[in-house]
Subunit: 200 residues, 2 copies
């Protein structure tokens, strides 16, 4: 498979991390998002929504949306729960990640790490911060009673949430008050096959 | 099953619509979101993220996130594609809906229909509008070549996208330029068992 990728994107890292854990090779095509590489006619023909990560199968079909790609690649492996309730909970947490977590934590990180220090978008940080903290609190509350997000095993839900949570500090978020989250991050990173976000 | 619900919420409507199409009865508990009903300690004990819809099974377990609820309830029915690629595409469009569609189209509708005419949040509309139009354009481009969003049948992906698209006008969006979207909305509404958003 080929992955239209960006080395600093947590959404793309989700896919790289799962592929590493599965031991599957992929061809990475680094896309310069800031230079508009995902808005060219050629790229929009592959993904009209103009975003990475984008998975390209060997037969030329394309799949977008990081969490949909995770579910597709994990299908038939231990990373996607088979049991109906555990699979439902995996999806619940993956939708939580895209709606209540990523738009605050990842966007804060993007503003602080990709934009100039005098960017007008810095004004957004004040609105984003409490919502990002709220997402971390929801995660911490869950992890006070469970080791993983779906069922009793490390799954695609943990991969999806790990991606931006472990770099939340780059978005200005302090993980110190969220001790269950910190312990879970360590469990995730200890998994054989784990790779860092910038790890090639 | 019991559904913690809100009659004007498109996210809750998704669940009501699928249950109606499946012919499954549910007990609806109307939650007054504007009065903080989803932020009480009792509700947060059921869903720490403080949102409806929330599904309660007969054994007391709870499932949050509208699109995860759709997948759970549709599992084993024709509404959730069994074929791997069609299921991947259903999830792709459902994540698109929550990330690139709902935050613009549903939020614009909320501001215009739930908040006072002099709400300072009206200032957000200008930023939301082009992104909502972009989502409608992505949908229209897909529907120019296909009748449905995943595989060749009406599925949970169509239900998820129908919910806020068919009331996009209430958010200030004009569907006239998106003729494939309008034809698809009519196909969805013609389905036996279809119920309107405010239809009890």
């Amino acid at each position: 498979v080929r992955l239209y990728d960006n080395s600093s994107s947590g959404n793309a890292y989700k896919v790289r991390l799962l592929l590493a854990l599965l031991g599957v090779e992929c061809e990475r095509v680094e896309m310069d998002i800031d230079a508009g590489a995902t808005r060219t006619p050629r790229f929009l023909a592959m993904n009209p929504n103009g975003r990475i990560p984008l998975l390209e199968l060997d037969d030329g079909r394309h799949l977008a949306e990081s969490n949909a790609i995770l579910c597709y690649l994990a299908d038939g492996t231990p990373w996607l729960p088979v049991e109906r309730w555990a699979r439902a909970k995996a999806l619940q947490w993956m939708f939580f990640e895209q709606y209540s977590h990523e738009p605050y934590i990842a966007v804060s990180r993007y503003i602080l790490t990709h934009l100039a220090a005098d960017s007008p978008r810095r004004a957004e940080l004040e609105r984003l911060a409490p919502r990002g903290v709220a997402a971390l609190e929801v995660m911490d509350r869950h992890l006070a009673t469970a080791d993983w997000f779906a069922g009793d095993a490390h799954s695609v839900a943990d991969i999806a949430l790990y991606a931006y949570t472990h770099v939340a500090g780059e978005g200005g978020f302090d993980l110190a008050p969220h001790r269950h989250v910190r312990a879970w991050l360590a469990r995730c990173a200890a998994r054989p096959g784990h790779v860092p976000i910038d790890g090639g």
